[in-house]
């Protein structure tokens, strides 16, 4: 079963992060990425740029609308994703618990519904 662990937190700039915290974060995420990898559950891991760099696309009545900024403008934002392949929700919760962001933000677990693989959209394994 594939799950996305969505890292929801304040952005570094808003959170006034000290150098020590930044150093801790770098080391913690490095270790987290390596342990996901070593366990063989990691599909992909991305830490995202701030929402100031994001662009939101909508199409309404065939008209393309491109807007600067995130879809929902809130204090806490989607700042990273970890896509993992694990047997069930308990395993996903265990990995989310290990994520450093769980300690200062939140990690939302979203099961994948369908996956594009080998040229077609497919259901979960």
């Amino acid at each position: 079963m594939r799950y996305s662990l969505l890292v929801i937190s304040q952005e570094a700039e808003d959170a006034n992060i000290s150098d020590e915290m930044m150093e801790w974060g770098r080391a913690a995420f490095d270790a987290y990425g390596k342990s996901l990898d070593a366990a063989g559950v990691l599909i992909s891991a991305d830490i995202l740029q701030p929402v100031s760099a994001s662009t939101t696309v909508t199409v309404r009545d065939s008209a393309l609308r491109v807007q600067d900024g995130p879809f929902a403008d809130t204090k806490e934002r989607l700042n990273g994703t970890f896509v993992i392949e694990v047997p069930d929700l308990d395993a996903a919760i265990a990995w989310a618990e290990q994520c450093p962001a769980a300690q200062y933000g939140a990690v939302e677990i979203r099961p994948s519904a369908i996956i594009f693989r080998d040229g077609a959209w497919r259901g979960q394994e």
């Binding site: 079963m1 069930d88 929700l89 099961p111 369908i114 959209w121 259901g123 979960q124």
Partner: protein, 444 residues
């Protein structure tokens, strides 16, 4: 009792019977209903466990019960009805999987894209195929842990248990929870989809996690019993829910015999149910504990409670349900000794408030302080409870206050407190008892 399987089956009963005689049909029907009652949760848990798909398992089981009503009258009732039902349900599931397997590569299904549905591929049915219908394993414990999983909304856990493990239909659960049937049905459907789509595993947590996960299971079972005391449903539904919660606790105690709080909960429910025969007045109203005739209490259930509580205490790990059971045990001991040991209650309520400081426990402690140390001490204890959130709308707090004020001779204050308690009381029997007590204080 209405089981979902039987509800669906009953609707088609007449058409299905064919040439069978009425008598054979009635026998088959009675047998199917009794199997449904005893085995519904066991069969559902087993069928749903491999893929975590409760809705499909419910459908397959409903089909199997329907087929039983069609076939049993003519062919005779099979020697192993449970195994028969399991095999039919398993075949139904396999048919479904075959037909969905065609869609293995899916064209983009709009319901998925819009977040309306989850996984499209069927889960591997392998482990269900390995099950010998003659030796049906018990997966109900796993199902209980699924229902009380931390990813499931606490408010739907008890209804989910009542439906999946005990086979209550949504209509009956809705009555017990004072909700419209459609609302309850929708919440149950959502919870079951969530279990399937997020893939909540059918497993009993390992020892290291068990202590963290077990309280939610106990809480949900206790929830079925606690409905009893909130005056939200008719007495008959309330009594049957309390009996079903005792049944669940007993199943759990048999499956986890080394967990003292499980034994404590089963003991608590045994004691409480033992008083059910004495609780209802001839007019259907509720009789308060101290006014009940102990001769009408069920001795067998009291013995069962004592036995469970002794076993729980043997593990020397005290917990909320064990203390509550000990309190119930003191009350039940009035059947033997003729009086209630108030000092023992005082010590136990003190312990309960330390472990689980609920409003109910605090008010009960204050009432017992009043009974043992006098009304002034009781009122002082109650004053410290009154400032807590929710206390102002808590009927027992006002009833206790009224009672203590009347004892202290503060007639006018007592009347005001009685009026407040009466206004908050949802149970007709308790309300009329409060009205009587209120009327008596002027005369004294």
């Amino acid at each position: 009792m209405a089981r979902p399987g039987m509800t669906a089956a009953g609707a088609h009963d007449a058409a299905a019977a064919g040439a069978a005689t009425d008598a054979a049909r009635d026998t088959a029907r009675a047998r199917a209903e009794s199997v449904a009652r005893e085995s519904y949760g066991r069969l559902l848990a087993l069928i749903a466990a491999p893929g975590g798909d409760i809705p499909s398992a419910e459908d397959a089981l409903a089909d199997a019960f329907l087929e039983a009503l069609t076939r049993w009258p003519a062919a005779g009732i099979p020697g192993n009805p449970e195994g028969w039902l399991l095999t039919v349900a398993r075949n139904r599931l396999r048919d479904r999987w075959k037909s969905t397997a065609v869609r293995r590569t899916v064209p983009l299904d709009p319901t998925v894209l819009f977040g309306l549905s989850g996984s499209l591929d069927p889960p591997a049915p392998l482990s269900l195929d390995d099950v010998d219908p003659d030796e049906i394993p018990d997966k109900r414990l796993e199902l209980l842990f699924v229902c009380a999983h931390p990813a499931i909304d606490p408010g739907i856990r008890t209804p989910l248990m009542l439906q999946t493990v005990l086979g209550f239909d949504a209509a009956r659960i809705a009555v017990a929870f004072s909700l419209p049937e459609s609302t309850m049905a929708q919440r149950l459907v959502r919870a079951k989809r969530r279990i399937r789509d997020a893939r909540i595993p059918f497993t009993v947590p390992g020892l290291s996690e068990l202590s963290g996960r077990l309280p939610a299971v106990l809480e949900a079972i206790y929830g079925a019993y606690a409905i009893d005391w909130q005056g939200v449903a008719g007495p008959s539904v309330r009594e049957s829910l309390a009996a079903e919660s005792l049944y669940l606790a007993t199943v759990l105690a048999a499956l986890l015999p080394r967990e003292p709080e499980v034994l404590g909960l089963a003991a608590l429910l045994s004691f409480s149910l033992s008083r059910a025969p004495a609780r209802a007045a001839p007019d259907g109203s509720t009789i308060a504990l101290d006014d009940q005739d102990p001769a009408r209490w069920d001795r067998e259930l009291i013995r069962q409670g004592e036995m469970l509580l002794r076993r729980a205490h043997g593990f020397d790990r005290i917990g909320r349900f064990q203390v509550e059971a000990a309190i119930e045990s003191v009350h039940c001991d009035r059947a033997r000794s003729g009086e209630t040991d108030r000092p023992a209650l005082l010590a136990l309520y003190g312990a309960l408030v330390r472990i689980a400081p609920t409003l109910g426990a605090r008010v009960a402690l204050a009432a017992t302080v009043g009974a043992v140390e006098g009304s002034a001490a009781g009122l002082a204890a109650l004053d410290s409870v009154a400032v807590l959130p929710g206390a102002d709308g808590f009927q027992p707090a006002w009833a206790t206050r009224a009672h203590l004020l009347a004892q202290a001779g503060r007639v006018r204050d007592a009347r005001v407190a009685y009026q407040r308690a009466i206004a908050l009381c949802a149970d007709a029997g308790i309300r009329s008892r409060l009205q009587e007590q209120c009327a008596l204080i002027g005369a004294a």
